[in-house]
């Protein structure tokens, strides 16, 4: 039965992909292209392009895309449910343990050293995105340097540090300003 198959395939993706997007892509490919042959390889690469251009976790994007294609809206819903069910069960258990033993001395000490390490990870994620924004394709070379991106980054950063503006409007404005500035330069107005 196709609904059950979709559900189980994405359940496996949700259960075995540890560590975010890139780990998930390999598993999704295995399920969707190799095992079940729901998508061709070129459809799969379309899927990863869409996933990169739209919000949301790649596993949910893929579940919706494949589910819709194979079995319409119910397929999309079941595949998505499969991809998030392991998260819901495992993380609510972990949350229960965390809030129950948060005060314990040993756990306190362990958390105290995990926190700065986590800041280091977030810093790395931020700088990787910055690298891709300021250098097209992420190569650190003069020819791929994008001054407009850098100026927008610095301006957005200062605004976020100095004012209480919320992050999402700042992000959206960055995109729109980048578009406008590029159109002006391309149009030869300046």
């Amino acid at each position: 039965m196709i609904y059950l198959k979709l559900f189980l395939a994405f359940l496996q993706v949700g259960l075995f992909s540890v560590g975010g997007g890139y780990a998930a892509i390999a598993l999704i490919r295995e399920q969707v292209v190799d095992t079940n042959m729901w998508l061709t390889m070129s459809e799969f690469s379309d899927l990863t392009t869409i996933a990169e251009m739209t919000p949301g976790p790649i596993a949910v994007n893929a579940a919706t895309f494949v589910g819709t294609k194979i079995a319409g809206l119910p397929g999309a819903l079941l595949a998505t449910a499969g991809s998030i069910l392991p998260s819901c069960i495992i993380c609510s258990l972990l949350a229960f343990i965390y809030y129950k033993y948060k005060g314990a001395k040993t756990l306190q000490s362990i958390l105290k050293s995990i926190r700065p390490a986590t800041i280091g990870l977030i810093l790395s994620a931020g700088l990787s995105i910055l690298q891709y924004a300021v250098f097209s394709n992420g190569e650190l070379s003069f020819s791929s340097f994008d001054i407009i991106s850098l100026v927008i980054f610095v301006a957005a950063f200062i605004i976020l540090r100095k004012t209480k503006l919320s992050p999402i409007p700042v992000m959206l404005c960055s995109g729109v300003i980048y578009l406008i500035v590029n159109l002006i330069f391309q149009g030869g107005i300046l």
């Binding site: 259960l15 540890v18 975010g20 997007g21 251009m53 739209t54 919000p55 949301g56 976790p57 596993a59 949910v60 819709t68 809206l73 999309a76 819903l77 991809s83 998260s87 819901c88 495992i90 993380c91 609510s92 972990l94 949350a95 965390y98 040993t106 362990i110 105290k112 050293s113 995990i114 926190r115 700065p116 390490a117 986590t118 800041i119 280091g120 990870l121 977030i122 810093l123 994620a125 931020g126 700088l127 995105i129 910055l130 991106s149 980054f153 957005a156 605004i159 976020l160 540090r161 992050p167 999402i168 700042v170 959206l172 404005c173 960055s174 995109g175 300003i177 980048y178 578009l179 159109l183």
Partner: protein
């Protein structure tokens, strides 16, 4: 409906719509949504403490599944038990579900549109600014109080993942081990005294 139930429903609705809003505009990976959640739930609503948000981030990162969904589940559980988990998870999942179903119909027009590409490219700069702003506010306390141990840990974990490309979960496990050893040493010292 009693007053208590009323305020609980209000929190659930607020949680659902916050996640719906955040999830609609989260481009580029799990850490982006975690920083947006920090801005909303720690800085704006004061529902969660800053340190707690870091703990949630590391749990979400080390568990299987999407980081966004994992973090939503933990925050939802804390704020409203099972109903909280459902509210937060639905809020996280509905935007990509709707957007992907719509876009898969006119995929080519969307993915080859030069304006869309330029906006997305420009948004990367804004996303980087948001993440680095959150990093600054998270590490402010450590820097101000000259907590050398924590500052070294930030630097080491950053170097390990950014330059050496070491697996993120391995880094979190190592940090946990360091914390565990520290508490053992402290206990030993306390016994000797």
């Amino acid at each position: 409906m009693s007053e208590k139930e009323n305020s609980k429903t209000r929190i659930l609705l607020k949680l659902f719509f916050s996640m719906l809003y955040i999830s609609t505009f989260t481009f580029g990976g799990g850490f982006v949504i975690v920083t947006l959640m920090k801005k909303k739930f720690v800085d704006e609503y004061h529902w969660i403490e800053e340190q707690e948000m870091l703990d949630i981030t590391s749990i979400a990162q080390s568990s299987p599944g999407a980081i966004a969904v994992n973090a939503a589940v933990i925050v939802g559980k804390k704020l409203g038990g099972i109903m909280g988990i459902i509210a937060a998870t639905l809020g996280t999942v509905i935007p990509p579900l709707v957007i992907i179903s719509v876009i898969s119909f006119f995929y080519n027009a969307f993915s080859e549109n030069p304006y869309v590409a330029l906006i997305l490219k420009g948004m990367q700069a804004g996303v980087a600014a948001v993440i680095l702003d959150v990093v600054c506010s998270l590490s402010k306390d450590y820097v101000k109080n000259r907590k050398i141990f924590e500052i070294i840990l930030i630097a080491v974990s950053f170097t390990a993942v950014f330059f050496l490309k070491i697996n993120v979960i391995l880094i979190i496990l190592c940090a946990a081990a360091i914390g565990f050893v520290t508490v053992l040493i402290k206990n030993k010292k306390a016994v000797k005294k």
